[in-house]
Amino acid sequence: MKPTLRSPGSLRALRTTLLNTWLATTKSRRTRAPFVSGLLIAGVIVAGSAALLRASHTPLIAEARAADTAASAPGASADTRSDIVKRGEYLARAGDCVACHTAPRGKLFAGGLAMETPFGTLYSPNITPDAQYGIGTWSQDAFFKMMRTGRTPDGTLIYPAMPIAQYTKVTRQDSDAIFAYLQTVAPVREPNRKHTLRFPFNQRNLLYGWRTLYFREGEFQPDPTKSVEWNRGAYLVEGLGHCTMCHTKINMLGGSSQSEQFAGGLIPVQNWYAPSLTSDKDGGLGDWSIKDIVDLLQAGISDRGAVYGPMAEVTYHSLQYMTEEDVKSMAVYLKTLPDKSGRKSGPSAPTNTNVFALGEKIYADKCALCHGAKGEGKLQHYPPLAGNQSIEMDSSVNPIRIVLNGGFPPGTMRNPEPYGMPPFGQELNDTDAAAVVTYIRTAWGNHGQPVTPREVNELRNAPLH
């Protein structure tokens, strides 16, 4: 999670002395939920040790799917629900509530998803309208206050595994719609599971420290100098979409700064690299067309590449359901993020000749069939590797993992039967895998750096799922 709002100057100094303790959730995608930060006790900041963690990811969500189907089922035959409920369903998808508030094989929105951390386990709460165990007795006001302030109606501070620093930007109107929708789902009589955090992490007062640094309450403020479309995109990306929870780097102290917002970062423990959305130099969308961005987000595939890893889940549960207009507005906004450095240029990095030759041979044997003899790909199901930012990124994590683990893009309404990339971890040893990844990162004018067998080996144990 990326609490990304700027800290006031007086706090900034503190921040550098603070060891923020983050807990990361293990849920799939947003696993980058860092959390909990310094202790503020009697005005003295005591700190926990820094830790960027993320627990292994729990398998996803049978019922979320059932949920997807169920949620859309009423629409299948004349949707007679009120407009506010339909809009609320749409917005709940934009916020991807289902991904965390539904457990594997659990009931829709009944919570119970385990988010394991070295500090203990958090469980997402039941947000169905059950009066005893869910939010059935909440008022519209109480729900809105929770969204805006990050506190439950009884004043309890919510752990920032919930993207409270982003949801605070949601408008009253949208919050009311989401609440109206949640009140229409089937109530589930299942109690919330208690978090099992160890001391001192079970002290919610810790959250005052975290909030002081990273939580700025307040609705999204449109920029009057920008278009309506841009502002809509900014609202969705910064608010419900909570994109910044993954796409901003976490610093050594487990914090992140406004200046690094959307600049990309490794998702701790889960070990996927969330690429920069800003600078073309290392990822970035500056030279992407709006169409390619929309295709990538909504269909899961594009002429520039496909979504994979944690982003596949975001497209699967959330983005595929959004209107073309909304996804386009997000693309318009994303393309205007600061792009200071321009694309990488110059000759490819030098590599060991033998390693390059080995990689070239393996590429010809195993990869060229789909990705082309010169990495040109075969649109639209086999992404080009030449000039592909996912391949050229400074971080070699993603290209190594894709070679080891393979993967299917998500099955979406626009691409219901995706083509799968085979895993090669079982047939390529560390040396071979490193050679072929080195090859694709440095051939055809690509600007990636070589990788070592050791880097490959370390990622063999990265959590799958």
């Binding site: 996803l60 596949a312 069939l369 040109e376 995706p418 895993p423």
Partner: protein, 238 residues
């Protein structure tokens, strides 16, 4: 644009060449890979081009098994009923409709069976295995395998898999996970209730005997039968 066109042409030439080579090498029946052949490369790189399985314990034969059985396995891997992270990861974001199509694709394939296991196993063990498979053990209320999996042991439509063409260690491994509860099926989970009655010796006997059986003359699963199963199975509703 021009470059891309050239690139595509080069690619096409490569592709056609490769296809020709592949054809000559594998004697595949179709001239060009179909869209489904291409889509499921993520499956066939481990389970074999025809779903025949590889010569190890992790990548079993999936070809020719009833489509409903395969679908149940895919959703179980995806949703947590079976735990094997590489499978769960691949399937995590694939919708049911597509998984049904993939299941049907592999159900339609019938590649040759591997040679039967020739390893040295004590005759008494094999005899015990044969007894359990064909007669069960009424005293312990263990039904015969063939009562559900078919007299030819090639499975029964729509949800019961065949037992041939699998390695002994794979079969034993699955029996172990049924018994320990790490592999689940739709409730009522009949295989779990059977597996908990089996000793290690039973599992060795059954898996050794099954792996030694010759390839079936007719590899197709038996048609769905009106006959009552010895116990209720969620994956084969009656």
């Amino acid at each position: 644009m021009h470059r891309r066109t050239i690139g595509s042409s080069v690619l096409l030439v490569f592709y056609v060449l490769w296809s020709g080579v592949a054809l000559a090498a594998t004697d595949a029946s179709s001239a060009m890979p179909s869209a489904m052949d291409e889509r499921v490369r993520a499956c066939t790189s481990c389970h074999g081009v025809q779903g025949q399985g590889l010569n190890n314990d992790y990548f079993p034969r999936i070809a020719g098994k009833p489509a409903e059985y395969l679908f149940n396995q895919l959703t179980a891997f995806r949703d947590g009923g079976r735990t094997y992270p590489p499978m769960g990861y691949l399937l995590a974001f694939l919708p049911d409709d597509y998984l049904r199509k993939i299941s049907q694709y592999f159900a339609n394939l019938q590649p040759p069976y591997p040679n039967a296991d020739q390893s040295n196993v004590a005759p008494a063990v094999l005899a015990a295995g044969q007894r359990l498979v064909t007669q069960g053990d009424p005293a312990r209320k263990i039904p015969a395998c063939i009562a559900c999996h078919g007299a030819r042991m090639t499975g029964t439509q729509p949800g019961i898999p065949g037992l041939l063409g699998l390695h002994a260690s794979y079969i034993a491994g699955q029996m172990g996970t049924w018994r320990s509860g790490t592999r689940h099926a739709l409730a009522p989970d009949c295989m779990h209730s059977i597996a908990v009655k089996l000793s290690d010796k039973d599992i060795t006997a059954v898996s050794s005997w099954l792996a030694r059986q010759p390839r079936p003359a007719d590899p197709r699963p038996a048609p769905a039968s009106g006959e009552r199963l010895p116990l209720a199975c969620g994956s084969q509703p009656q």
